[in-house]
Amino acid sequence: MALTLFRGIQARPLLPCSSAFIARKHVLFCSMQSTQADTTVKTKQQAPSNFTETARAKAVEKVLKDYEAIIGIETHVQLSTITKAFCSCAYSYGSQPNSCVCPVCMGLPGALPVLNSKVIEYAVMLGLALNCKLALSSKFDRKQYFYPDLPKGYQISQFDIPIAANGFIDLDLPLEFGGGHRRFGITRVHMEEDAGKLLHTGTGSYSQVDLNRAGVPLLEIVSEPDMRTGIEAAEYAAELQRVVRYLGVGNGNMQEGSLRCDVNVSIRPIGQLEFGTKVEIKNLNSFSAMSRAIDFEIARQAELYDKGQADEIVQETRLWEEGAQKTVTMRKKEGLADYRYFPEPDLPEVILTEEYVNGIRESLPELPEMKRRRYEEMGLSMQDILFLANDVNVAHFFDATIAKVPDVKLAANWIMGDIAAYLKNEKLSINEIKLTPEELSELIASIKNGTISGKIGKEILLELMEKGGTVKGLIEEKDLVQIVDPAEIEKIIDKVIANNPKQLEQYRGGKTKLQGFFAGQVMKESKGKANPGLVNKILVEKLNA
């Protein structure tokens, strides 16, 4: 059977979207680093240079004085169910080609789909999280077209009755992009299956089909055309990714293709009622690519308008080329494709009971928007809020830390300061370090109650992140308890003063700046453990005696 699986298709030269697949091929063989790398805030730092970023933003700003951009996004989210949507194959990214297949997902004669109930559960979760109305009775339909990565010649999808529709998503724009709260409409959420992948040989003489991904469950989320800039679009997608990760229904990883966005962009002169011609952009592998591609496209269309060549904006699919930082024509759309949808006769209707939906509603976790509003009520700044809430693991860490010692500010500062710096240096995510939220709150408590100094706290933190252990254990082991006994401090001060008669003379002669010198010597003598407040208080008394 393996032979039939790997049969070559001598098809490459005239593939309708060969360049798209070449681009995908690249993705296929590159290995992933962090699963949490792709939020806009971070990718902004990775963008080519700050100069081009600013120049680009300025150019778009100028364009948007005369034109309004209308942006809508279709997002495909791969669900992380244990088995595929309609068969019992387990799927994992990067497996040996055609190793996660069976008669059903290979489309063998006679094989039939049976719906994985987890897909419905995840769809309902996301539908509710996106504030949608759920269809208590929906169905599957067949979307028909021929392509070698589509084994049955049709994709099982939902057409006229999606499982969820008419929702919205709330988000807060990062301050560096002007900040502000936004609400974008969600047109629909529907369930469907993924297709396989084509692998092209180096010589280009034939292609091979890998069906591992065929039948993997997807949710397609279609937005209302509510976004007006590349940043808004990228933040919409980033928020969607957050919701997916908060819910745990998928890993939302863009590089692996677990979260894929196709963007529709049109512009119109401000004041014009009718919409301009819509252009679709594909091959957006990161949020920053998305934002840049859209801004490029807005500028390109505006330039055509300016030149009086608006009729050259045609309905087409354009590809974002990361290297050249521009969009290029992939295929022109000659009329609408006819997918000949009809109800999937192999699957019964999807019926949801109110009881089932309510059960899921009640078990939903706190979602990003609720979390941000809660952090806001705690008195955190928007910058801090976004930092903490953007990554679900960071948010969980923060929440667990403040559960014990409710000093919100201190916890936020530790996480955003020393811990974030360490994570960045070591290229780790917060759930990969040895430090637990419990120990962080212990650390904060120990500093607050004066057991250790802040300086020692920083040292311990490093050790906790690298090697683990407990705050109490480390303090004991290293004898780090702060000296708060005035008598003991007095003893050290006496010793320091006795050892530095010359400086004492100078001080008493009026060079009072030397107090700092004495304080430093005392700290050194106490190995940093002396309480700085007490040291200064006693020192002044002694020096002026």
Binding site: Q10, A11, A111, Y154, D346
Partner: protein, 416 residues
């Protein structure tokens, strides 16, 4: 064994798994002796549509065995095997059963798992049973019935013990069918139906009356709407189901350096004319702008048909009709006249649209020159009430006098 579905596109294709019905039969100890011929992908009513061989009717080797499961019917008729399976999308078990003088049973849609059945029209396809007696067909149905987690359309209803209902002739009362309300579909015994077929059916009706049942004629005004609706729906679904035969993963692939000609060439080469005709019809019916006029309207007709059967079966225990408007005809006679062949499905397609069970049993003969050809009548029951059909059929066949349905060609070996 290869699995070709009678199509060249699956020449030498060896399936990777057993169909659920085959697995169940093997678990019961059945011996699978072979696979039988059929019209390509079940599309036809004569078995002439096979890409491989022409199957003859054991009663007259110059006649068709019916179809599409003509090979299965002919094999049982010629006593080459005890029982056989077929698939019934619009009559493909019942019509060849009638043509070959054997018992053909089409179960309720969902009674038997379709997993492993090469799909023609998924919402209509049912795996059915052939036997020389009602008892055999019932035993076979028992073995293959029940829910299958690999087929989401298979029913979770309990499967009763069909054979426990069988009563031997020796224990009958004088009128074993007393109280049975039988409705004869008046549309099926009028114009356009062979006179001799009608008289065979009338013979069966009076036999049912002798057994104690009350027989009334009943009209189903939606009856004539079934045929066009069936062809729209079946073609639409088949145009989709057959998309997977693209030469990419299995089956015959033509060499091409361009994708669309690989598809076009492999399919042009692999499919026969009747299959192409139905793919074209179905693709057309599902196309944007035509969907409402064809597919959607046909679905509405289907709902009407279902409703009218339901109403009739609230009044009558069973409904009867011929299984086909004629007995078997000559090989080649309708080969170039698809519409005439389609019209021959008038008796059976409504039952598929309604998803109901039906049993065809031989009840008489028509003269055919020097020989005779068998004729079967169809009993239609309420959904999931195969039990009643089998009980009535079993009594009927035991009491039918003067008819032996063994083809003359093998009669010497089967003197009884």
């Amino acid at each position: 064994m290869a699995c070709t579905a009678g199509s060249k596109i699956l020449e030498n294709y060896r399936p990777a798994y057993d169909a659920s019905v085959v697995r169940k039969l093997r678990e019961c100890g059945a011996i699978i002796v072979g696979k039988t011929n059929l019209d390509e992908f079940g599309m036809g009513s004569t078995t002439e549509g096979s890409a491989y061989q022409v199957t003859a009717n054991p009663w007259d080797l110059e006649c068709v065995p019916g179809g599409s499961s003509g090979g299965s019917a002919a094999a049982v008729s010629a006593r080459q095997c005890v029982v056989s399976l077929g698939s019934d999308t619009g009559g493909s078990v019942r019509q060849p059963a009638s043509f070959c003088g054997v018992v053909g049973l089409k179960p309720t849609y969902g009674r038997v798992s379709r997993y492993g059945l090469v799909a023609y029209a998924s919402s209509l396809d049912v795996i059915g049973c052939f036997g020389t007696t009602v008892a055999d067909a019932g035993i076979l149905l028992q073995a293959i019935s029940g829910h299958d987690k690999l087929d989401a359309t298979s029913s979770k209803r309990d499967v009763n013990d069909f054979t426990s209902q069988f009563i031997s002739k020796d224990y009958f009362e004088s009128q074993p069918l007393k109280g049975l309300r039988v409705g004869v579909l008046s549309e099926t015994i009028g114009d356009g139906v062979d006179k001799e077929v009608v008289s065979s059916i009338r013979g069966a009706i009076s036999h049912l009356e002798e057994l104690g049942s009350t027989v009334t004629e009943v009209s189903l005004p939606s009856f004539s709407l079934g045929l066009p609706a069936y062809y729209v729906l079946a073609s639409s679904e088949s145009s989709s189901n057959l998309s997977r035969y693209d030469g990419v993963r299995y089956g015959n692939q033509i060499v091409s350096d361009e994708l669309s000609s690989l598809y076009g060439g492999s399919r042009a080469n692999g499919f026969g004319p009747e299959v192409k005709r139905r793919i074209l019809m179905g693709t057309y019916a599902l196309s944007a702008g035509y969907y409402d006029a064809y597919y959607k309207r046909a679905q509405q007709v289907r709902t009407v048909v279902q409703k009218s059967f339901k109403e009739a079966l609230d009044v009558y225990d069973i409904l009867i009709s011929p299984a086909a408007p004629s007995a078997a005809y000559k090989i080649g006679e309708k080969k170039n006249d698809p519409l005439a062949m389609y019209a021959g499905d008038i008796m059976t397609v409504n039952v598929n649209l309604a998803g109901l069970p039906a049993l065809v049993l031989p009840c008489g003969f028509v003269e055919n020159g020097t020989s005779r050809l068998p004729v079967g009548f169809q009993m239609i029951g309420a959904a999931f009430d195969e039990e009643k059909l089998l009980r009535v059929g079993h009594i009927f066949e035991q009491t039918l006098q003067g008819c032996s349905f063994i083809p003359p060609i093998i009669a010497d070996e089967f003197k009884c």
